[in-house]
């Protein structure tokens, strides 16, 4: 019985593995199960989802052609665009009456994507989230302050179901109301915080103003996700909140949070690959790339019932690797996200990820990562990049010369790191929008 407490493995001084049968299985057994699930899922979608039948027919693939994991390459990809076109219920693989819960993506960039869960899907979600929270050291007796938004967004309820399955005490505080967050953290002895990484820093800032010392709180770990962040930002969060900060990854199209997460090694995110089969492809050619090579991450939901997806292109850039992780888990890992195929900026022909600029800013010690990148075409019709950086007290000076020097230093570092010239503009604190949810780091004004 996976998920039962008596089956959990406790290693000396390590966090528990919630479901060793799934997370620490031998590779042969794992791949056998994955193949069985894949064959079953492909037959299922071909029979029950006209959208997939049509796609497979157009590609000349029959369900019988899929016999092994390698055969997955024969199947056509699914894009976010297609998922939107099927709004709201075009991808259902079960009768509508079997759906017990619905979530959607925020839809900020268009029609939202729908994730419709059966009772079984909710059970899978709780299971993978229990694994995620256990990976961060949570268990029965822990107090999980869940500051992800409750509602259509998957973050809130995903953590909630996982925490409940784990037997921890979950505080469903949802996002926002910073003062109350701090009060609850203090009064209820929160041990695990779940929210976006930028919100955790926002909380740290607010705590500072309120005179709250994180060293005196019981907080020990954060499960942070729903937006990209860097290794430098992790160091800052761990330092300011006095916790271990773990990266967690998930997306509405697949299940929500619970797709993959970090263990205490903080070296790559373990993918729950018995449920979500990962591939890395060349974003241009669509060719499957071997382990260790960077490319676009693609997922197939092997077990999902309500709205299964086949070879969904996430647009996230990373690579996969399978190492001997000291935590004892054997499942494949993905490196933390290296960028997005869609937020990658091409500046005068150079590929630039906002995270690279963030790293430069963090390296120049004086600057906190409150920045915004504005891309535009000037009078010369060439790409111009401007980086707004908030002036912090730590490097503010009464002399213009000193501030100009900081500006030049940032500009030089960006030039040497990325090979592009950027205009650095120093701005007043709190002028760049702080988000409770996703940070808007890039404004692209180019009309191409």
């Amino acid at each position: 019985m996976p998920g039962n407490f008596k089956n959990c493995i406790f290693l000396r001084g390590k966090a528990m593995i919630w479901n060793p049968e799934a997370e620490a299985n031998c590779l042969y057994e794992l791949r056998k199960r994955q193949a069985e699930s894949l064959v079953r899922q492909v037959r299922n979608v071909y029979a029950h989802v006209p959208f997939y039948k049509k796609k497979m027919d157009n590609a000349g693939v029959k369900p019988e052609d899929i016999q092994s994991l390698e055969d997955i390459a024969k199947l056509p990809f699914t894009t976010k665009h297609e998922l939107r076109d099927t709004y709201p219920y075009g991808l259902l693989a079960v009768p509508e009456s079997h759906i017990v819960e619905v979530h959607t993506s925020s839809g900020t960039t268009g029609t939202p994507v729908v994730d419709a869960y059966t009772r079984g899907d909710i059970e899978i979600w709780a299971e993978v989230m229990a694994r995620t929270l256990a990976m961060a050291g949570a268990g029965s007796g822990d107090v999980i302050q869940n500051a992800y938004g409750y509602g259509l967004f998957t973050g809130g309820l995903g953590v909630h179901y996982g925490a409940r399955k784990l037997g921890a005490n979950v505080i469903p505080i949802s996002a926002g109301n910073t003062k109350r967050q701090l009060m609850v953290m203090k009064d209820f002895g929160t041990t695990i915080l779940t929210c976006t990484p930028s919100y955790s820093l926002f909380l740290a800032e607010a705590a500072d103003e309120e005179g709250i010392d994180f060293r005196k709180l019981k907080l020990k770990a954060g499960c942070l996700g729903a937006e990209p962040w860097s290794e430098n930002m992790r160091r800052e969060i761990e330092d300011e909140l006095n916790i271990h900060a773990y990266d967690i990854y998930g997306l509405t199209e697949i299940i929500g949070p619970g797709v993959s997460s970090e263990c205490e090694e903080k070296n790559g995110l373990h993918i729950n690959e018995d449920h979500f089969y990962p591939e890395i492809i060349d974003p241009q050619s669509g060719e499957v790339l071997p382990e260790g090579e960077k490319g676009e991450l693609v997922f197939t939901t092997l077990t999902k019932e309500g709205t299964p997806v086949i070879r969904f292109r996430t647009r996230d850039i990373t690579y996969l690797f399978r190492d001997k992780c000291s935590c004892g888990r054997t499942v494949i890992k993905m490196h933390r996200l290296l960028g997005r195929t869609d937020d990658m900026l091409i500046i005068r022909g150079v590929n630039v990820f906002p995270s690279q600029i963030e790293q430069v800013l963090m390296r120049i010690e004086e600057t906190e990562p409150h920045y915004q990148i504005i891309v535009d075409r000037g009078k010369t019709h060439l790409d111009e990049i401007e980086v707004l950086v908030e002036v912090e007290e730590s490097f503010f000076s009464d002399e213009t010369r000193a501030l100009e020097r900081i500006r030049e230093k940032i500009s030089e570092e960006i030039k040497s790191e990325l090979g592009i010239s950027a205009h650095i503009k120093l701005v007043e604190p709190h002028t760049i929008e702080r988000s409770m949810g996703k940070a808007k780091r890039v404004i692209d004004k180019r009309q191409i």
């Binding site: 000076s397 501030l403 007043e428």
Partner: protein, 140 residues
């Protein structure tokens, strides 16, 4: 013998200066000297006030980046050649000046000029040695 100057970071956009002065006015802060150093993108507002610590608190609460710096407030004879006399002493003794500006103050018949010098300890020593009159506070 030094006084505290408040510096505030300002972007070059309309209304910012009005907001700073409004906030300080509301808080009962009296301005004794004010000057702006500006570049194409930003400016640094420098202020001498009656209550520097109070002013800093107000500015921080309003979300401005601000800090205190020690500067010298030297009395200068209010007649032609008055400032030149002080400058000559500074020059002769290698007191390097980063910037200077005048205040609204008048002590007896003397004007009060604010000096930000590279090495404040050295500046203070030269002032003492030459018996230049200084102002050490604007507490009114």
């Amino acid at each position: 013998m030094s006084v505290k100057q408040i510096s505030v970071f300002l972007e070059n956009k309309s209304g910012r200066l009005a907001e700073v002065t409004k906030a300080l006015g509301k808080g009962g802060i009296n301005l004794r000297a004010i000057t702006i150093a500006d570049t194409a993108d930003f400016g640094i507002l420098r202020l001498i006030v009656n209550d520097p610590d109070g002013a800093l608190k107000i500015l921080e609460k309003e979300g401005f980046t601000a800090k205190e710096t020690d500067v010298l407030a030297v009395e200068v004879e209010d007649k032609p050649g008055g400032l030149a006399k002080v400058m000559e002493i500074f020059e002769k003794n290698r007191v390097n000046i980063e910037y200077l500006y005048a205040t609204l103050e008048k002590n007896r018949d003397n004007a009060v000029v604010i000096f930000k010098v590279e090495d404040i300890a050295h500046g203070q020593k030269i002032i003492e040695e030459n018996n230049l009159p200084v102002v050490s506070g604007f507490n009114f």
